[in-house]
Symmetry: C2
């Protein structure tokens, strides 16, 4: 096993950081690595906002649902799907690109581009001994975040990424069984096998929580998922996307 | 600069592979690394189909627009957004999760989850000396790909990933200027600065193509983008997503 694979396999989210900012060089390296990721037909349809100012972080933390690690970290990045750039290209090249820019296809391309870049940035950070945590919570108040970061039309703040020097030890969380996630040649359609794998995983997840909380918690993965998904969240997303000029067609 | 950052920064897509399959151990490591990526609230909303059979690869290559490297590679992965798993959870837990599963928010979560996993898998592969190429082309005939891979409702084949032993040397492609993609505190809204950066990048891109093709090609990035986006592609995506049970609300 090489060092990179070791880094990948030892990932765990970090939610408590030392009070020590990242250096400019560390930030630059993280962004350069993010930019080195693959991008669909070289479209580069994302932008990254780096947040350093304590007031802005505090505001973001409130908007994300009062997660303290959005405020207290070494640096906070917001990854955005971005087709604004391509509307500027349209002006420069005197071309009508509206139908592409507003398509569901290009919305997906921009979301995927941003995610690939973010994951490269995360791995770069982790390889330097830093910890990371993705923050989907910034979509709780997505309109307010859009306004706070002065995001133009045709951009969306997808998620935050808190980065910093870890101030906690956490365990790697066991994932779904590999054969449940990875199928050969075609999707495994046998519901019984599928459910058996989930039951097996429930035992693993339950034992993990039990050991980690000294017996206080032992919920299964399927019950966690059901509890989370029973309450639909962020049901304004579709109208927000349309308002920002995405996925209209 | 550590080894991992070196791997990240030296990424280039590989489109010509040796005729040598990946070993089962290599495939397993790639999938394990994919699974180790962050996942929104631990939802793990993706699946991976591994394609080995020459007939299936050939068929996929046709559907993706006759890209030869979809057929000729060491292994072909298809990354899928997957909320099918969560409909099985709904049955097991006797919970109605329909509204969440069909929401635009959870569609985005599943796409991001799949992309983070894929990028981890890609980096694992590259760290082992393998080359990779993302294949968005599988969305050209997305209904046929869905059928070929026997994907159930609430799953989407997002993109392929061709992996193998590189049989070509290619250069790292210069990205947009860092300060164009990375903004501090808020989005850079000055159109003049924005356009100047793109003009600067046009020169870089043009020089890169010129050097690489012995003068045969010297197009700018903005002209490339305008040419690509002038013709809207895959405009069936929205109705396909709805049909698969995604982003309905």
């Amino acid at each position: 096993m090489n060092k990179t694979i070791e880094t990948l396999l030892s990932h765990r989210s970090i939610r408590k950081f030392e009070d020590k900012p990242l250096s400019d060089q560390q930030i630059k390296t993280i962004v350069e690595c993010a930019q080195a990721a693959s991008t669909s037909s070289f479209i580069q349809a994302y932008s990254i906002i780096g947040v350093k100012r304590p007031e802005t972080k505090k505001k973001l933390a409130e908007l994300a649902g009062n997660q303290p690690y959005v405020e207290a970290n070494g640096h906070f990045f917001v990854f955005c799907a971005d087709l604004h750039r391509h509307t500027v290209v349209a002006e420069m090249e005197k071309a009508d690109l509206t139908e592409s820019v507003e398509s569901t296809e290009k919305f997906m391309v921009a979301v995927i581009d941003a995610a690939l870049a973010a994951q490269n940035g995360s791995i770069a950070a982790e390889s330097m001994g830093l910890g990371i945590c993705y923050i989907g919570g910034i979509r709780n108040k997505i309109e307010e975040v859009t306004e706070l970061l002065k995001l133009p039309a045709n951009t969306i703040p997808l998620f935050g990424l808190a980065v910093g020097y870890p101030a906690q030890e956490t365990d790697v969380k066991p994932r779904l069984p590999l054969e449940h996630v990875y199928h050969e040649e075609a999707y495994q359609q046998d519901v019984q096998i599928y459910q058996d794998q989930l039951e097996e995983y429930n035992e693993t997840a339950s034992a993990y929580y039990h050991a980690r909380t000294a017996g206080k918690r032992s919920d299964t993965w399927t019950s966690q998922m059901a509890n989370m998904l029973r309450q639909p969240k962020r049901m304004n997303m579709k109208s927000y996307l349309h308002k920002q000029g995405f996925a209209k067609k």
